[in-house]
């Protein structure tokens, strides 16, 4: 009845079903589709050049708004947004300063801080693991926030961190993820946090196999292995995607940058029926306290990317 929007999504490398980042967006899109019955088209690029191509192709066809998922699309979007000033774009994880672009960023370090607290409280050995994808600043931000959370809850706890690899396969190598996690368990770790895309699936599986605790990332991954999933660090890309489309549909869409932290509900920790047995009331109380302190500004979580260092 109304002049419906024609939304589109260009996913990041890794694909729609990576169980975390892209899949989060996809969940938001599905929710929008289910609610409004408006069809959404999407595209999974094979290489970086196709970002620009896909964005332009969607814009040419009159799709609007268009979500570009992931930081790597920024340069392409910068060009395309200028070419199509009447099309609305939303980019996730990066800022593109254009009048028709909405940029959504997340304070992953804040969310990671909280799951760090949870990890430190749940750990009996005082040794806590982290498995990252590739050694890039974004992943360092996760690790750094996590480490601060751990130290906050247990200054004596020790962090064991591993990166998976150096090729794009690093985001997609569950076997190696599992092996890294087992290596950390062998060294005494009993909680591990995976921030490695699809590789994380192997990490979570390894924890299940060994009866250790694991923390998921981006989407709520608690359901994957009830009983060994301590929690998940939620990065609400689903919300970002959903809201972008929804706002466009309602006519309230606005350009500009938004940084979503704990305060804005952009990041969070997950507590649901799958992990409620693992989170004792004391733990929940401490985590919630930390969360409140971060929101109020009493605790400032250092952002690795502000100075490329974790202090």
């Amino acid at each position: 009845a109304q002049t419906a929007v024609k939304p589109a999504v260009v996913y990041a490398n890794g694909g729609k079903f990576d169980k975390s980042f892209n899949e989060g967006v996809s969940n938001g899109v599905e929710k929008f589709k289910a609610e409004t019955k408006i069809p959404v088209v999407d595209f999974e690029p094979a290489n970086e050049t196709q970002f620009e191509q896909a964005q332009r192709r969607f814009a040419q066809r009159g799709q609007d708004p268009i979500i570009a998922v992931g930081f790597s699309q920024a340069v392409a979007l910068e060009k395309v947004a200028k070419e199509f000033p009447n099309t609305r774009f939303t980019i996730i994880d990066m800022v593109v300063p254009q009048p028709n672009v909405q940029s959504v960023l997340f304070k992953e370090h804040e969310g990671s801080f909280l799951v760090g607290v949870a990890a430190a409280l749940a750990s009996k050995s005082g040794k806590i693991g982290f498995v990252g994808g590739m050694d890039i600043p974004l992943i360092r931000r996760f690790q750094c926030g996590y480490e601060q959370g751990i130290k906050y809850a247990d200054p004596k706890a020790e962090l064991i961190a591993n990166m998976t690899g150096t090729t794009p396969a690093a985001w997609n190598d569950p076997g190696r993820g599992a092996e890294l996690a087992k290596g950390q368990f062998d060294r005494g770790a009993d909680v591990v946090y995976a921030a490695a895309g699809n590789t994380g699936v192997g990490v979570l599986q390894a924890a299940k196999d060994r009866g250790k605790l694991a923390i998921g990332v981006d989407s709520n991954q608690n359901y994957l292995h009830p009983g060994t999933m301590l929690t998940s660090m939620l990065k609400r890309v689903d919300l970002a995607a959903y809201q972008s489309f929804k706002a466009a549909n309602d006519g309230t869409w606005k350009a500009g940058a938004q940084v979503l932290g704990l305060k804005e509900g952009g990041v969070d920790w997950a507590l649901d029926q799958f992990n409620e047995k693992l989170i004792t009331p004391e733990m929940k109380a401490k985590i919630d306290a930390a969360k409140a302190d971060i929101i109020s500004g009493k605790i400032v979580v250092h952002d690795y990317m502000s100075n490329n260092a974790c202090k």
Partner: protein, 306 residues
């Protein structure tokens, strides 16, 4: 004392876990290469096997049915390799490269078409996976023991049986085998099929034993490492096994080395540690194993008009 023991135990277990697919692939590759058929396609066979293994296990609910499917999938590619290189005398390296690329693409295409999860299979649970037999912390599933067994078995077949003698002969001088009234083609097909069998087991290990489901490109270069192990071992089973263990150990150490500070240098870059197995392979290939002599007829199609 106890700690030392458990440290050693865990390192051995980690080494074996990583080395298992390498060992299986290396033994498979050994059969193929001894018969004169170079197999760069180990990677692709393993990948295809991993996919079909996981897919079948998840649909059928039985890990062993998955293992069987994995072997069938690897054998199909082995037959393709044989068809191209033995029957049609194609270039063996090219055929191997093609198989790798096809496997990388096809697993995802089929995975998408069947499961609509971006090329992954559903996660395997319970009986859909092979679990540890004796030591839960070690991850010693049945295929690990099969891999350990495959080494003496390979040695025995190659050194002590009629088939092994002919296999060695056909890799050195196929003409002599032909002139002795033995079919070169059939011998080589059997070797290639044995290779498929072992590569299939390796693939099954990755997706239904060590892992729990298939993910795209999950072999991540292990087929090539197995190839390097064969060369290190100078085409002999036990030394090749040793090379696989070395790679496994290197990996176990590398995992522990990440983030460790070395006095004087500071923290070793993660990337250096990740590249270490490759660098070490090159380093050893270049200097320390001496010139490895491949079976003389390896890579050369047996061209004989009838």
């Amino acid at each position: 004392m106890d700690e030392a023991f458990s440290f050693v135990f865990l390192m051995v277990a980690a080494t074996l876990r990583v080395a298992t697919p390498l060992v299986l692939c290396a033994m498979g590759g050994l059969f193929s290469e001894k018969s004169g058929i170079i197999d760069v396609g180990l990677e692709g066979k393993m990948l295809m096997a991993a996919f079909f293994g996981a897919a079948t296990a998840s649909v059928s609910g039985s890990a062993w049915v998955g293992v069987a499917a994995a072997i069938v999938a690897a054998e199909a590619l082995a037959l393709l390799h044989g068809f191209a290189c033995i029957t049609w005398r194609g270039n063996q390296v090219v055929s191997g490269v093609a198989i790798n690329i096809i496997a990388a693409g096809l697993t995802v295409v089929l995975g998408n078409a069947w499961f609509a999860r971006g090329g992954q299979t559903p996660a395997l649970v319970g009986d859909q996976r092979l679990m540890s037999l004796f030591f839960p912390t070690a991850g010693d599933n049945a295929i690990v023991y099969l891999a350990l067994l495959s080494v003496p078995a390979t040695w025995w077949i190659i050194e002590r049986t009629r088939f092994g003698l002919r296999l060695r002969a056909v890799g050195e001088m196929p003409l002599a085998v032909d002139a002795a009234g033995i079919s070169v083609t059939w011998l080589r097909y059997r070797a290639v099929l044995l290779c498929g069998l072992l590569a299939g087991l390796a693939g099954a290990y990755l997706s239904v034993a060590q892992g729990a489901g298939f993910g795209r490109d999950m072999t991540a270069g292990q087929g090539f490492i197995a190839l390097a192990a064969i060369i290190f071992g100078k085409w002999r089973p036990f030394p090749a096994f040793g090379a696989c263990l070395m790679f496994g150990l290197l990996d176990a150490i590398a995992i522990r080395l990440q983030g460790v500070k070395v006095s004087g240098i500071g923290e070793v870059p993660v990337q250096l540690i990740l590249a270490l197995p490759y660098l070490l392979t090159m380093f050893l290939l270049a200097g320390f194993i001496g010139r490895a002599v491949a079976p003389k007829a390896a890579g050369i199609p047996y061209e004989k008009e009838r």
